[in-house]
Amino acid sequence: MSQLNHLLSAADLSRDAAINLLDIAETMASVNDREIKKLPTLRGKTVVNLFFEDSTRTRISFELAAKRLSADVINFSAKGSSVSKGESLKDTAQTLEAMGADGVVIRHSASGAAYTLAHSGWINGSIVNAGDGTHEHPTQALLDAFTIRRRLHGAASTGKALDGVKVAIVGDVLHSRVARSNLLLLNTLGAEVHLVAPPTLLPADASGWNAQIHYDLDGMLHTVKPDAVMMLRVQLERMNAAYFPSEREYARVWGFNADRLALLGEKALLMHPGPMNRGLEISAAAADSPNSTVLEQVANGVSVRMAVLFNLLSGERSIDNV
C-alpha cells in the first residue's frame, strides 16, 4: 500500500489509494461501533488542529479521529491567538515545528495555504488539508465517497469503487472546495459527475472539468436520475455580490424542496456537507427524509479521518519526499 506524505488535494489519490483508504475506513468504522472505541496505533504521536477558520464540526471530527487512534491532540484556533494580531502562517508553523508536531491538520481561508505549508520547508510533519479557501477539502470528498459506497453496497463495500454511479453536485460550485474535491475523487473512482448551478456560480472557464454542466435542476433530475445528489451550502454574502438576486429566487430554482424530493428514487442519496441552511438550499422535509445522509456523513467523517491519519502518521516517512 502506498503511503502518502501529505493529503492536500483529492488529486493526490490514485484509484487504488482511494479505495484502500475507504477500506481502512471500514475497519475504523467497526471500531467506532464497539464499546471500546480506541486503537493504540498512533500512541505517542502529536496531531495539531491548526484552524485559521472557524469550524467546530470539522475540528471535532479530526480531534475525535486522532484521539481514537490514541494520538495526543492540540487545538490551535486563530481567534484569540497571536495570529489575529498578525503572526504569519510561517511563524505559526515554525512554532509548531519547534514543539514537535507529527501531523498538522490545517484549515485556512486562503486557497493554497495547505500546499504552501507542506512545501515551504517550515514544518516537517504530515499535512492534512481540512479546507483551504475555495480550493479543496479532500477528507470531505473521501467521507462523501465512503457514504455513497456504503449506502449502495452495505457490508460488501470493501474493495469497491464507484464506477458508473451518477452523482449531481448542486449549488455554489464556484466557491466550493467540497465541489472541487468531490469532482476529482468521484472521477478517480469512476463515477459520472453532474454540476447544477446558476451560471454566475460556475467557474468562467470549466472546460477542463470532467463533468456535465446543468442550469436546470428539475431537468437534470428527470433526465439523469442521479444515484446521489449533493447539495452545497449557499453563503448569503454571495447575494450582495450579485451572484443571485434573492434567497427566495435561489430557493425556488435551485433549492431541494419537497417536489424535487419526490423526483428522487427511493434508494437515491440526498447529501449535504453541513451546516445546512434549512429552507434555502435544502428544505427541512428533505433534510429529514430517509434519503438524507447528513448524519451518516458526520459519523463517517470520523472513520475516514482515522484512516487518513493512520496512513499519514504510521510507518516510515521519507521526509525529503515532498
Binding site: S88, L89, K90, H108, S109, A110, S111, G112, A113, Y115, T116, H119, S120, D132, G133, T134, H135, E136, R177, R180, P203, A204, D205, A206, S207, G208, W209
Partner: protein
C-alpha cells in the same frame, strides 16, 4: 571625467567599429575615433553589441516611504546592472508623488545617487484616490520636469476624470499612462481568470477588465486629441484594441513587461507568490500575441514594472502576498531572448523598444539618442554569446520570478553620461558625480 576608446564594438548590430567617448559625449565614431583617442583608456569590446542606454518607462523605486523593499540608490544600481541609463519612478510612494515637492525629492535622490537619470512620474489624482486631479502643471514645471503621469497600481476608472486628465496634460506635452484595471470586475482578484484559477480556487482577474478600460481610453484620447500610454499590456484582446486604435490614427503607445513576454498563469499552480503580479500572468496564447505585437509595432516598448517587495510579503500564502516582480536586471536578457535569439527580429528593433521609443514617450531628450558623434554617451554593451543564470544582485528585494532560468544577452558594461556605472559585469561602487566639472 575620463576618455574611453571602445574598440571593435558592433553599434546596434552593425559591423564592428570604434567609439571614442570624451566626458559626457560620444566624441567620434569609426576610424576617427582611434585616431583621436590616442590617450584614451582602451576598452576591448570585441564581440559586444552596443545599444543606446536602456530607458525604463515604468519602475517602482519605493522611496519615499517603502525603503525596506528598495531605495532610489539600490533601484538605480539595479537599473545600471540591467543596462539602463534612465528610469521613470512611479508615483505610488508614501507620500504619493502628487506634488512638486515629492517629485523634486525623488529627482534629487536620483541625481545624488548618480547611476541613472531618474525621471519621476507624477500621480494623476491626489493620493491616487481617483477623485481629484493632482497639481499636474506644478509637477511639470518643477525641477523634475514631469511629463509622464500615472496612478499606476490603481486605475483612473472614473471616465470623466480620465477625460479631464487627458485634456489637461496637452498644455505641457504630458502623457497619461493608464494602469488598465476596471476595479468592480477585479475585486479580490488574485490571478488570471481562466482554467487554472478555476482549478486552484483563486479569484479570477478577467481579461475583459483590462480590455474594457483600454477600449474606453483610446476612444477618449482620440476624442480629445491627446496622447495616451497604456501600461503593462497583458492580453491578446488588449493588443487587438491598440492595433485598431493606431490604425485610426489615435495617439496611443503601449508597453509590455518582460514577465508577460515569457511567463504564464500555469506557474501559479505551485501557489508560489513570486508569480503573483498585477496585471496577472496570462495564458500562452496571450504571450504569443504580445510577442508578435512587440515585433510588428503595435506595442512600442518594453517596460519592466520593476516592483520590489520584502520577503515577508511573498513568503506566505498566495492571497496574503503582495503583487509584483523584479525586472530591471533581467529585462535586457528577456528582450534578447524574444527579439534576437529567437531570430524573430533584430538589434534595431531592440534599441527602439528598450531605448529610443521610451525616451521619446517620456520626452527625455538626453536619452535614447543614436550612437553617433555628438550624442550623449548613454550606452549599454551586451554580449550576445553569454548565457547566464537569471539572478538579481543589486536590488534590496529578492522577488525574482526568473530564478532557475538561464538567459542570453548579458549586459557587460553600462555607460551613463560617459561614466561606467557597470564595468566587466560589476556595478560601480559609487555613482557618477554630477557636480564634477566637464573636462576634468
Amino acid at each position: 571625467m575620463s576618455n574611453y576608446l571602445l574598440k571593435n564594438v558592433s553599434l546596434v548590430g552593425q559591423a564592428p567599429t570604434d567609439v571614442l567617448i570624451s566626458g559626457e559625449h560620444i566624441f567620434a565614431v569609426g576610424s576617427d575615433a582611434a585616431k583621436q583617442g590616442a590617450s584614451a583608456e582602451v576598452i576591448d569590446c570585441t564581440g559586444l553589441v552596443a545599444v543606446p542606454g536602456l530607458v525604463d518607462l515604468h519602475t517602482h523605486l519605493r522611496e519615499p516611504g517603502f525603503e525596506a523593499s528598495e531605495t532610489v540608490l539600490t533601484g538605480t544600481r539595479s537599473a545600471a546592472a540591467g543596462g539602463f541609463t534612465a528610469v521613470h519612478a512611479m508615483a505610488n510612494t508614501s507620500p504619493v508623488a502628487d506634488t512638486a515637492g515629492v517629485v523634486e525629492q525623488v529627482w534629487s535622490l536620483g541625481l545624488a545617487a548618480g547611476f541613472a537619470d531618474v525621471a519621476p512620474v507624477g500621480a494623476v489624482t491626489v493620493g491616487l484616490e481617483g477623485k481629484q486631479l493632482a497639481e499636474l502643471a506644478a509637477m511639470a514645471d518643477s525641477r523634475a520636469q514631469v511629463r509622464v503621469f500615472s496612478d499606476d497600481g490603481k486605475c483612473v476608472s472614473d471616465p470623466l476624470l480620465m477625460r479631464r486628465a487627458l485634456e489637461y496634460v496637452k498644455a505641457f506635452d504630458g502623457v497619461v499612462a493608464q494602469h488598465a484595471q476596471e476595479p468592480r470586475l477585479t475585486e479580490g482578484a488574485q490571478m488570471n481568470e481562466g482554467v487554472v484559477s478555476a482549478e486552484l480556487g483563486l479569484a479570477g482577474w478577467p481579461a475583459v477588465a483590462e480590455e474594457s478600460i483600454i477600449a474606453r481610453d483610446v476612444l477618449l484620447a482620440g476624442h480629445v486629441g491627446s496622447r495616451l500610454h497604456v501600461c503593462h499590456l497583458s492580453t491578446a484582446g488588449s493588443v487587438e484594441i491598440v492595433r485598431w486604435a493606431k490604425a485610426r490614427g489615435i495617439n496611443v503607445t503601449a508597453e509590455v513587461t518582460p514577465h508577460h513576454l515569457l511567463l504564464t498563469d500555469e506557474l501559479a499552480r505551485s501557489y508560489d507568490a513570486v508569480y503573483k503580479v498585477n496585471p496577472p500572468l496570462r495564458t500562452q496564447a496571450d504571450v504569443f500575441a504580445l510577442r508578435e505585437a512587440l515585433i510588428d509595432g503595435t506595442i512600442d516598448i518594453i517596460a519592466t514594472d520593476h516592483a520590489p517587495h520584502p520577503d515577508e510579503s511573498k513568503d506566505c500564502e498566495w492571497s496574503a502576498a503582495a503583487f509584483g516582480m523584479l525586472g530591471l536586471e533581467i529585462a535586457a536578457s528577456v528582450a534578447f531572448d524574444v527579439l534576437i535569439d529567437s531570430g524573430a527580429s533584430h538589434w534595431q528593433r531592440y534599441a527602439e523598444v528598450l531605448s529610443h521609443n521610451p525616451a521619446q514617450i517620456g520626452r527625455l531628450s538626453q536619452q535614447g539618442q543614436p550612437l553617433v558623434a555628438g550624442s550623449i554617451a548613454n550606452i549599454a554593451l551586451i554580449d550576445p554569446t553569454k548565457r547566464r543564470d537569471a539572478v538579481s544582485t543589486e536590488s534590496k528585494s529578492s522577488n525574482n520570478p526568473y530564478l532557475g532560468l538561464t538567459l542570453g544577452g548579458e549586459v557587460v558594461h553600462t555607460i551613463y553620461r560617459g561614466y561606467f556605472t557597470k564595468r566587466d559585469g560589476s556595478v560601480a561602487a559609487v555613482g557618477r558625480d554630477h557636480t564634477a566639472k566637464a573636462g576634468n
